[in-house]
Amino acid sequence: MLSNSEILSVLEMLRNEHLDLRTVTLGISLLDCASDDLKRFTDKIYDRIVSKAERLVALCNAAEERYGIPVVNKRVSVSPIAVAAAPFSSDQMVSVAQALDRAAAAVQVDFIGGFSALVEKGIASGDRALIEALPQALATTRRVCASINVASTRAGINMDAILLLGRQIKAAAALTADHDGLACAKLCVFANIPQDVPFMAGAYLGVGEADAVINVGVSGPGVVKKAIDRALAENAHLDLRQISELIKRTAYKVTRAGELIGRDVAEGLGVTFGVVDLSLAPTPHVGDSVGEIFQSLGLRGIGVPGSTAALALINDAVKKGGAFASSNVGGLSGAFIPVSEDLNISAAAREGLLSIEKLEALTSVCSVGLDMVAIPGDTTAETLSGIIADEMAIGVINRKTTATRIIPVPGKKAGEYAFFGGLLGESVIMPVNNAQGENLFVRRGGLIPSPIHSLTN
């Protein structure tokens, strides 16, 4: 028999705290669709995705109804296209992206991830074709998301790839200038990319994974914030150890809900259940914000001194709660701080509390990195590459995942606004400091070697 308080606390999480399952992502392997004939390949991947995922949305809707918890996004991730479609040219890669887009539309998912390449140590011909295809592929599709892993703790940092990507990001922004460079919002550049992330734009199905896998992304920044607010209302003198314990317990609850629903959907589809990625992922709505948690903890806003310590506390407590709740915790699992997707973080940027440099510092203790950051359109490709390289270095040296999703907004300057719409939100354009002059460092190319694993300090 359930107790009243158990039932009422769950209802409260649903009614007022935005508890939801942020995404159920079906990973589908395309590796056995390989062919050097473009039509044959695109037909095969289209058929594979549609046959595997055709019941995904219906099953998610049924689970949503059964448990009364919204499943906000249903998505598909596929094997890295640079591997699956290795024989093709960059023009042909664009056609592959368009086939993925059609398949995603056919199964009614809002995003499909996996237009991806893994180039941390070197760029193969398929990788190069995919990277060259990025601007056109992202500008001519709606649902396709791309990710490029350019660095890893084991391999080092591929500066050739980073230089190339700086240019491709500029080109992608230019092709979607009418929409503030929207194509760049669908491209993540990673260090240490996990194989099982369910969240976009970084989702792809790793080559070490099964034929089809369900990974779920649970969120719940609103639940964490309200739990802190409630506890502080009862006892205003809670210390940080007590608050950490509270976040941990809350993360446990949220993870358990995600795993239950994920397993239900996986069973319905007859595929393996992969991981729960417990990430505090905001949406551009009041009460569903990671930034608001900083304020509940007592900071004026994200970005002021103390923010990195606060984020370290949040991120660690979330991981501990998640790891206790499920043996299948994976993906990124931590806190996201995407600027445009979080009203509160976006406001902190507008008020000048948060700069790119502070964001970079924050990313050393949280999931992902410089995420959904709008910068001036006249930022050079080399400066972009420099920002990416800095972010990758943080991940490589600290043995963690980091990423960038930066949008150089064509024709707009720092202080102006960029609008991406929907979940991607809107943001003030943040200034990039110290960006004048040439950047010979990023032009040198080559590989920054992998770091030593002793003498840590």
Partner: protein, 184 residues
């Protein structure tokens, strides 16, 4: 052995269960199941017991009344069928229905009428009405068994429609979600 069900009602105070079970013990009865609850100082207990073949409900009831005369209890004893009664042959799944909203007469009657019409069985009901318009003070929680052959979405639609008429917010959720979130 014969099987009986005994219900006991009365003002709550120390000693009710002690007096009832002492008599049962003396008369060689074995308690199989017992459940008790208290609502606003009123005690209510249900005992399922087995006892000697010669015993009959009336005698048991008289003996219990005599043994608890100071406690002023209302006692009822009934013989039970040996074979368990099954209200459905379908397998059932446990769900939880919750409502919140301003108090008025007939809320339980109208919600349970919908449940009865859809062959849904209530296994636990906790309703707290403290009056007024504050929804937090007027909550009903029904734990129910829904047969696998029921149409869940029809039930949900019927509940939502009825709840809207009554100005209530209603939720129908599988019990697993509450257990997953709250229990290790």
């Amino acid at each position: 052995m014969k099987k009986f069900i005994i219900s006991v009602l009365g003002k709550d105070r120390p000693g009710i269960i002690a007096a009832v079970t002492q008599l049962l013990f003396q008369q060689d009865f074995n308690i199989e199941d017992v459940s008790q609850t208290i609502l606003q100082n009123e005690f209510s207990g249900i005992f399922i017991v087995t006892g000697p073949d010669g015993s009959d409900p009336q005698n048991v009831c008289h003996a219990l009344e005599n043994a608890t005369v100071d406690l002023k209890l209302h006692i009822h004893v009934k013989a039970m069928d040996a074979a368990p009664f099954q209200w459905t042959s379908a397998s059932c799944e446990p769900f939880v229905i919750t409502t919140r909203g301003p108090d008025r007469k007939g809320l339980v009657a109208q919600i349970t009428a919908v449940l009865a019409a859809h062959n849904v069985n209530v296994t636990q009901l906790q309703a707290v009405f403290r009056g007024g318009a504050d929804p937090e003070r007027n909550v009903m929680i029904y734990e129910v068994d829904i047969p696998a052959d029921s149409d869940l979405s029809k039930l949900r639609t019927a509940l939502k429609t009825k709840a809207a008429e009554l100005n209530l917010e209603v939720n129908l959720q599988h019990k697993n979600i509450f257990e997953a979130i709250n229990r290790i």
